[in-house]
């Protein structure tokens, strides 16, 4: 589509003029502006001995650890949670069960997760009215290729309902900004509107087919079709609420299509991280989506960071994490890899801070949950799980703190994130991941 030179249709950004004087609600409807949510995931864990800050508390009481040094520019926005234990990690399948535990708070059943992931829990709370229910992007498709769904993605609508990340920056751009294209797209506003109306009538008919089909099915398959129909309603909604070529291109309106291709060598190159970060900023700032999962690397990613130096040209999961000598503070090549991950996270967070949103910026207005599929990759430890909250969630989170919860259940972090984002549920997770209380004392404003 890009090659055709078709005009790009862009919605308006969330400008101050659209908000009330405090920047907390839409001026016309007084609807509160919900904070945005990002699940920022990286595979293979950290070195817990040098990931965890040495002191706890807020402000000057804590300092960044060695592995978090790269985030010094955004320290006021960080809430580091340490000490948590992923009780759902199962021996022999540590990465897939660790991934499922860290994102769904629930065990695996065979190859399937058993609950929606935290990004989808949040999407149910805040995505109504956004163009996309959620967006999933990824930097590297490097994968161990295992059979479990929780190795293929970190975003799940529920069992057997993967939201697989898109790894091609151009494909993300096309999906976000070129509309639901296909063929026969007209060049005039009138033609485009007519085509949108025809597409809508086609989708209405598809929906009617689905409803009729559901009547013949048992409960489980009825629900499967329902999820398909929900997706179709989303497509239809985007057709009718963002008619192509009718919005004036202001601010969000001049995005440049990325030129970098997807990571073909499973090495998570910096250029792809930059492109995906930039696209994420556009998606969030222009209200394309309020929920984004950013898969820097998949669970147990067989990634090769050869661009970090000739000594890094080895399988990061197999050879470096599992094979290198050293303990959980001293595996040098693992540290090099984690530093790179953190530098890419820093790019993401500093760009959020630099991107206007409402009365402030994206980082002020968002909650970013950063986590992984294991604590220390070498032997798959499940305590001292890496958990980092970034952003102030529209003032709901104070930031600039490190809080230690030795041995507490990792699901509490997910429960806390859900509550910050507005959940009124009284429990989260299941099995060994079931919790009934969130983390307290981490600087949440009530």
């Amino acid at each position: 589509m890009l090659a055709t030179g078709a005009a790009v249709s862009i919605p308006l950004p969330l400008l101050e003029i659209m908000l009330n004087s405090n920047g907390t609600a839409y001026a016309q409807t007084a609807t509160p502006v919900p904070p945005l949510f990002v699940l920022w995931f990286f595979g293979n864990g950290s070195l817990p001995g040098i990931w965890k800050p040495s002191t706890t508390g807020a402000g000057s009481k804590w300092t960044l650890s060695a592995q978090l040094q790269g985030l010094s520019a955004v320290k006021p926005y960080l809430t580091v949670i340490s000490g948590l234990k992923n009780e759902l990690v199962a021996g022999g399948a540590e990465h897939p069960t660790g991934s499922a535990g860290a994102t769904t708070g629930a065990p695996l059943n065979g190859n399937a997760v058993t609950a929606p992931s935290i990004d989808q829990v949040v999407a149910k709370l805040i995505s109504k009215g956004a163009a996309f229910n959620s967006i999933e992007v990824g930097v590297t498709p490097a994968t161990p290729n295992g059979p479990q769904d929780s190795l293929a993605t970190v975003s799940h609508n529920g069992p057997n309902a993967k939201n697989v990340p898109e790894y091609s920056p151009q494909a993300v751009f096309t999906r976000l900004f070129m509309g639901s294209t296909g063929t026969g797209t007209g060049t005039t506003t009138d033609q485009v509107a007519k085509l949108a109306s025809v597409r809508k009538s086609v989708l209405d008919s598809v929906l009617a087919d689905g409803v009729a089909l559901q009547k013949r099915l048992g409960a489980a398959d009825k629900q499967r079709i329902e999820q398909h129909l929900t997706a179709i309603r989303g497509v239809e909604n985007r057709l009718t609420t963002t008619p192509a070529n009718t919005m004036p291109p202001v601010m969000c309106g001049t995005p440049t299509a990325p030129t970098v291709g997807k990571d073909a060598n499973s090495e998570a190159p910096p250029a792809v991280n930059t492109a995906m970060t930039d696209l994420s900023m556009l998606a969030l700032a222009c209200d394309k989506t309020r929920v984004l999962s950013y898969v820097f690397s998949l669970p147990a990613a067989h990634v090769y960071y050869r661009h970090l130096g000739s000594n890094m040209n080895a399988d990061f999961h197999d050879t470096i994490c599992h094979g290198d000598a050293g303990d959980q503070s001293t595996q040098t090549r693992v540290d090099t890899g984690v530093h790179y991950v953190v530098s890419c996270l820093n790019e993401f967070l500093t760009k959020m801070q630099a991107t206007s949103h409402g009365a402030s910026n994206l980082l002020d207005q968002s909650l970013v949950l950063v986590t992984s599929d294991t604590a220390w990759g070498k032997i798959h430890t499940n305590s001292e799980w890496p958990v980092l909250l970034a952003g102030k969630a529209g003032g709901r989170l104070q930031g600039d703190g490190h809080y230690n919860f030795p041995g507490d259940n990792l699901s509490k972090a997910l429960f806390t994130a859900a509550q910050i984002m507005g959940s009124t549920d009284t429990k989260f997770g299941s099995g060994k991941g079931a919790v009934t209380a969130p983390l307290t004392g981490i600087g949440i404003n009530t």
């Binding site: 290729n145 609508n157 898109e166 026969g184 060598n265």
Partner: protein, 590 residues
């Protein structure tokens, strides 16, 4: 390797010492060869073949001594007196990526990139089985719509193709008989059943409305066509059954037509098959046999084996695999495609061109190559391009023979830089012998073999060090011996004689018998009754769309006997599967 070095390695790496829990986890049922039909063949059982201490040449086997032949078998092992068959509940399978691709190609002549379609579920290791549980993502629904619009456009943007495709001239009116006839015929193929008159009315209204809005009767037909293929009635296969004459629930004629069509052609039915459904011919075993025989004889009939091979061999993995670009500059998309096609097409060629025992797969010298893959095999590339394929024959006395030495399999079970005897062996153990390998114990250092050492070692030597750890030996003995003969091939399946500067030692054991190399491994597999029986079980599950159950035991025993008696002809197996009552019987959905 010296014993001292071995001890040093293990001592330096206590995490590699697998705990007692591992031993417990690995002490499963002792696997035997399933009872029953072995009379007409010389193929031998190969069940519990874990006694793999062999390490010939100068490698030695210090510390990695003989291991008890304990095999944790698949819980669904066939037994001599299985419980009576009971039908499984009806399924709602979503079209797999390849089914969607094939349908778009068959109907519109349009090539879909399967990587732009919602991912399959690999529950039970078959997309055709995961299809019964997979749920479409938001992006996936968009991708279907985009692909369908593009496919429809491939016909409708060309006036000649379009007019042939529609077959009459639409008027754009709501009562247009041309449009109604067109939708009726195409819709029956897309939805694998006649459309109801209400459905036809709805599509007529949709077409008329689009024709009016866009001021073009042809555009009305275009968008009605898009609807047919964006509809859940196309994308999902409701197979729920109806009471037969005797009161038992059975798939109706159209449901059976769909089951046959997607199994044999991996695509939508043709008019003849739909006519057979309408006539009631598929209500009898003879009717099904006649129809499946016709279908297998068509070019698309090769999909019944080719697509099975693609799923069974997990060739989907190839598309996601990168290789070290410096070490393997020849590894590109064209080579990846050829690797997949070589495996797929060799399976189909053994079955359909040679009409031979499918067990010949393990010793065949047949290869299907483009220029990239021919170069990898060391064959002349004359007349070949990246998109031109030929079926060629490797030298009978060459370094490879059979499926297990094909680059597609070797490359997918390897990382970017080196092959993995463990992954290759695990695949052979689990997929080809239907025996489960327990997962490694918690806390084990999975890459103990990759510990840097002061002296160069082959992968084999490092694995032997790993297996020397007491808890690791039993399960690795299930995997490594089957993969070690394949150490003669690197991470993309090129033949090699040296590993890390040392000679490769490809000797191993299969079913307790010493084997010299990968050729001997293939020869042993081709003679294995365990492999043959496992193939029956896998094909059955692939065909019926659900994992094997205890109550399928009697059906499987019957199918095994038929397969054995046929001389392991896969066509006979396929006919036996679809003419078995288990393929037609169904229980209500819960």
């Amino acid at each position: 390797m010296s014993k001292a070095l071995l001890q040093q390695l293990v001592a330096a790496n206590p995490a590699a010492l697998c705990g007692l829990v591992f031993v417990a986890g690995c002490t499963g049922i002792v696997g035997g060869t399933p009872g029953g039909s072995g009379s007409s063949t010389s193929i031998v059982g190969a069940g519990a073949s874990a006694g793999a201490s062999a390490s010939g040449g100068g490698a030695g086997s210090a510390g990695a001594g003989p291991v008890n032949p304990v095999v944790s078998t698949d819980p669904n092992t066939i037994v001599d007196n299985p419980p009576a068959f009971a039908p499984a509940p009806g399924l709602l399978r979503r079209l797999t990526r390849t089914q969607f691709r094939n349908a778009m190609s068959d109907v519109f002549g349009y090539a879909v990139d399967v990587n732009q379609i919602d991912t399959d579920s690999w529950d039970q290791n078959f997309a055709a089985v995961g299809a019964a549980v997979v749920i479409t993502s938001d992006k996936g629904a968009e991708q279907y719509n985009t692909a369908v619009e593009s496919a429809v456009d491939a016909v409708f943007s060309d006036a000649t193709k379009r007019s042939q495709f529609i077959g009459c001239t639409p008027t754009g009116k709501g009562t247009d008989a041309c449009l109604r006839g067109y939708v009726q015929k195409l819709g029956q193929r897309a939805w694998r059943r006649p459309l109801t008159s209400a459905e036809l009315d709805g599509l007529g209204t949709l077409a008329a409305s689009a024709a009016t809005t866009l001021n073009s009767p042809v555009e009305g037909a275009r968008w009605a066509t898009a609807e047919l293929f964006e509809s859940p009635n196309f994308l999902y296969r409701p197979e729920l059954g109806a009471p037969a004459a005797n009161g038992a629930l059975r798939f109706n004629g159209y449901e059976l037509a769909g089951r046959l069509s997607f199994l044999i052609w991996n695509s939508v039915p043709d008019q003849t098959l739909l006519d057979q459904a309408a006539s009631g011919a598929l209500a009898t075993t003879d009717g099904i046999r006649t129809e499946v025989t016709r279908m297998l004889a068509t070019p698309a009939g090769r999909e019944s084996v080719g697509n099975f091979a693609e799923e069974y061999m997990r060739l989907d993995r190839l598309a996601t695999q990168a290789k070290d670009p410096v070490q393997f500059p020849e590894y590109n998309a064209s080579l990846q495609t050829a690797m997949l096609r070589d495996v797929r097409d060799t399976w189909a060629s053994i079955v359909f061109d040679d009409q031979a025992s499918v067990m010949n797969l393990f010793t065949t010298t047949k290869v299907v190559v483009n220029s990239d893959l021919a170069a990898l095999y060391g064959l002349p590339t004359t007349g070949l391009t990246p998109t031109t394929y030929k079926t060629l024959t490797l030298a009978a006395d060459g370094n490879r023979s059979g499926l297990l030495s094909k680059p597609g399999l070797l490359s997918e079970f390897a990382n970017q830089q080196a092959g993995s005897p463990t992954l290759r062996g695990k695949f052979i153990r689990e997929a080809l012998t239907c025996q489960a390998v327990p997962p490694p114990p918690a806390g084990v250092n999975l890459a103990a073999a990759d510990q840097p050492t002061s002296v160069p070692m082959t992968k084999r030597q490092r694995l032997e060090a790993h297996r020397a750890a007491p808890g690791c030996a039993a399960c690795h003995a299930l995997m490594d011996p089957l993969g070690l003969p394949l150490e003669s091939f690197d991470a993309i399946g090129k033949y090699r004689t040296m590993d890390n500067g040392l000679p490769v030692d490809p000797t191993s054991t299969f079913d307790g018998h010493a084997i010299a190399d990968s050729r001997a491994l293939g020869a042993a597999a081709s003679q294995s009754m365990t492999v043959a029986k496992c193939l029956v079980r896998k094909y059955y599950s692939y065909a019926v769309g659900y994992p094997e159950r205890d109550v399928d035991g009697s059906v499987l025993n019957t199918l095994e006997a038929t397969f054995n008696a046929s001389g392991f002809k896969m066509r006979d197996l396929i006919v036996a599967v679809v003419t078995n009552d288990a393929f037609s019987a169904v229980a209500p959905q819960p």
